[in-house]
Structure formats: structure tokens, C-alpha cells
Symmetry: C2
Subunit: 269 residues, 2 copies
């Protein structure tokens, strides 16, 4: 079993009550990555709905859990022929930390018109990109365990801020794959859409960027191989910001998009 599948496993303890473990293996310092928590929420939703694939899932982040046991309560809201909608509530120590609502369907059975109006991102070659935290450590020794699970190769222009040369654009481009050789599944895109440092940092802004809400659209099962992730922030207004993400697979197909609403918190907060 891949790291990702093992670390997002959800056990049904009853019809609507589930249990799982938030591992410390997908964290930034002691904070589990938001996309990792979303992926666990998608797994929980999947237990409640008859359709196999998430299509669109929204999560509202209520507080930060730590590594350790969690439970989930799920609800099937409506089950239709082509799509079904459900809700999941994730708890730790009796306190809800993430509420999700999602609609599932069957992407492989979808029949209809295709018209892609966007192109895959222009990317520097892999060998010209910079491997993010290859040992999973920041220069100050902070453990970024998620980077021990993901192989992330960043386009250099997104990293200029680390040497005091921020870019004009709040944009990050990266090649991403799992380090254990596991192929990206549809569910894993819920993680990958949120797997790199906030794009707003690339434009020279400072602080932590807690996610308030994250919505992922799942557009296709990814082909094996490297994924390309592009994230960008359109507007930071009075400390609130959006961040959009696109994930393209090795066959140049758009497989997921994300959009989140977040806050740029001061270093002192």
C-alpha cells in the first residue's frame, strides 16, 4: 500500500461514524497539511456515497488538529443517478476541526463535450528546478515531514524571496510526485493541490497563511508520472487572499483545480 493510501485510511466503525489516524508524516512542523486533512475528508465522504469519484469538495477549516486519532461523522444528503452529495465532519478530542461538503460522480462514465480553453503551464525542465527540502528539513532544522513524502521540484522564480529577491507575481510552479513511487490517485489530488508554500510568499509577503476554505474540483484520473502544479494569488485585500491551483498530469490533461480563501497572518499572531 502506498504511503498516501495508508496514511489516509478511514475505518467505518458504524454506518455514519468513522475513525482514522492523522499521521505526523504529512506535516509542516507540527501542523498537518491542510490538503492532507482534505484528503482524509474525501475518504470519509466516499464511505457515505454510492458514486466512486469526488467531483467537487469544499472544506472549512475550523481549528488545527495535531497528529493522532480522529473520528468522522458522515451524512448522505442526496443520491441521484449521476451525482450524489454528502457531508463529513472531522473531529479530534470531540472538537470538530474540518467540515466538508462534496458531490461525487463517476468521471470515467462521464459522457459529454470537451473543450479545454487553457493550456498546460510553461515549466522549466526538471533539471533546472530546485528540489524543495530534499531531506525534509528547513535551514533552521524545522521538520517538514510532507517533503519526506513528496518530491517537489520548484521553478526557481518562485524561490527568489528566500534570498531577498521576491518575484513580481504571486505564483508557484512545481513538478510533483510521491517519493515512494506511488502513482497519484484522484483522491491524492486533494493533497497535492495544497502541497506547496503559499504563492503569496513568492511575491515577498511574510507571515503564516492559514486556510479558511478550500474547494477542489476533480477533473480526471491522473496518468502515472510527474504532475505539474501551478498556484497563484490574484488578490490580497486587507490581509485576506485567494489562491488558485491547477494540476496537470504527464499526458497534458488538467486533472484538478483548487481555490482557497485564506488569511495572511502576521508573524506575531
Amino acid at each position: 500500500m502506498d504511503d498516501f493510501d495508508a496514511d489516509t485510511a478511514i475505518d467505518a466503525t458504524g454506518t455514519e461514524s468513522l475513525a482514522g489516524v492523522i499521521t505526523g508524516r504529512w506535516s509542516i512542523a507540527d501542523r498537518p497539511n491542510g490538503g492532507y486533512l482534505m484528503a482524509m475528508g474525501v475518504r470519509a465522504l466516499a464511505t457515505a456515497l454510492p458514486h466512486p469519484d469526488p467531483l467537487t469538495v469544499t472544506g472549512h477549516f475550523l481549528r488545527s488538529p495535531v497528529a493522532g486519532p480522529m473520528t468522522a461523522e458522515v451524512e448522505s444528503i442526496r443520491e441521484g443517478r449521476t451525482v450524489s452529495t454528502g457531508q463529513a465532519r472531522l473531529f479530534q478530542n470531540g472538537r470538530e476541526f474540518l467540515r466538508l461538503i462534496g458531490t461525487f460522480g463517476d468521471l470515467r462514465a462521464a459522457e459529454g463535450v470537451t473543450d479545454i480553453q487553457v493550456k498546460p503551464p510553461g515549466m522549466p525542465d526538471l533539471e533546472d528546478c530546485i528540489r524543495a527540502a530534499p531531506d525534509g528539513l528547513l535551514p533552521d532544522g524545522t521538520l517538514i515531514s510532507i517533503m519526506q513524502r513528496l518530491d517537489v521540484r520548484m521553478a526557481p522564480d518562485a524561490l527568489g524571496w528566500l534570498r531577498g529577491e521576491p518575484a513580481d507575481r504571486a505564483e508557484v510552479r512545481a513538478w510533483i510526485r510521491f517519493r515512494d513511487g506511488g502513482s497519484a490517485s484522484l483522491v491524492s489530488l486533494a493533497l497535492i493541490v495544497d502541497a506547496v508554500a503559499p504563492a503569496v510568499l513568492s511575491a515577498g509577503h511574510r507571515g503564516s497563511v492559514p486556510t479558511i476554505e478550500l474547494t477542489t474540483h476533480f477533473r480526471g484520473h491522473p496518468a502515472p508520472g510527474w504532475l505539474r502544479l501551478v498556484t497563484r494569488t490574484r488578490a490580497l485585500i486587507d490581509g485576506y487572499l485567494d489562491e488558485e491551483a491547477e494540476i496537470w498530469d504527464s499526458e497534458d490533461r488538467l486533472v484538478a483545480t483548487g481555490r482557497q480563501f485564506a488569511r495572511l497572518a502576521g508573524a506575531g499572531e
Copy 2:
């Protein structure tokens, strides 16, 4: 009281149980506009949360209601110092038709950095735009009552498909204001973000476009005057599509963005 405020009124009948009326005044034929229903959901959420302004609200559309009475059940999920999160369920005849989750805050009290990385849309002058359904009727006589409430001036390139000359891009640009002279409020942006025909039609595709999920980010209280709305679809894949929207106010401020996940349904469905 403005038309919009009157037609989205929600009465608290108990702590968590609310009542309202879906008017037939914001419809396309006999279908209430999805943005109008979202606005009613935002009103319902507002009754449950201590903060004044919606920041990000997601709705999943479960079935189409008709004009007539509705009820709502609301829940406060978490109330923090700067933001609070809640859920609303909207019912008609005992059947849930819309489930929303949203986080509220106080935009006027927000303090933080501003860095806008996008520009207001290039728009044709008002007098060069085409007034959509000035009498609220389609050529075939279908009543589009929402167009009796909104004054919508469309950039001509989005309407070429009506004469068999679709555009290359799935994009719509329009000037919008309320016909009754009412100023757009923050809540009304939940309506306006979804107020024009789907952008995918502008690129020559045919069918109805039922919304599955719509998320609106509320970025600022709009100034009085004309709003500018731009919508575009990035990817129609096997019949599923995204649609993004930006709303800019008369002072060139980005006041809301939307993103929806929808389906292009065949004419026969």
C-alpha cells in the same frame, strides 16, 4: 426597501428554524436563479453567525425549487474572534434543495496587507453594449423575470452565438445594476456572480447548464454605481465544466469572485 432586499427576506421563526418566500421575480422561465437562492442562503447563514459579512460561501444544489414558501435550518459551527462558520439547509415542501456552508467576518474591520495582482476587465463602453432582454422576454416569449430586476449590458462578443457566430473564448463581460435604483450590497453579489447566461454558451456549446456547486468569495462592499461582471469557463471536460466570475465595482475594486462546478446537459435531458 429594495426589490432585492424584499425578495430575499428571511424571518427567524425560532433559534435555528427560518422561513422565507422564493419569489418568481428572479427566475429564468420557472426556475429561480441559482445566485438568488444562494443569496437567500447567505441571509439565512447571517442569522446564525455573529459576524456581519460573508467571506466565503459554498452551496451545493440538490434540486430545483419553484417560486413559493421555503424554510431553512441553520447551525453555527464555530464562532471565533475574527471569523465564524455556519451551515444552512434550505427546504421546500420538506425536501432540501440547497446546502450551504460559509465563513463570515467583518470586511470593514479587516486590517492587513493589500496586493492586487489582477486588473479590472477591459470593457466596451456602456453605449456599445447590448441590453439583455430589456423587456424580460426571450425572442420566443419565455419570461426571464430576473432581467426585469437587473439591467444587464452585455459586451457584444459574448452574444455572437445567438446569430450563429460563437466566439473562440467561453467568456462573458457585462455591466450590471439593479433596475430599481437600489445599490448593490455585499449580499447581492451572491446573486450577481451568477446572473448572466453561462459563458460556455458564448463558445457555441448548446444545452442547459445546471450548477452543481457554487462558491463565492466576498472581497469588499461595492461602491454605488455600475458593476462589471466577467465570467469564463476554463475547461469543459466530458460534459462537466467550471465557471469563474469576477465582479468589479465603479471604483475599480474587486468586490467578489465566484467559481462553480456545473454540467452541460443535452437539450433532450
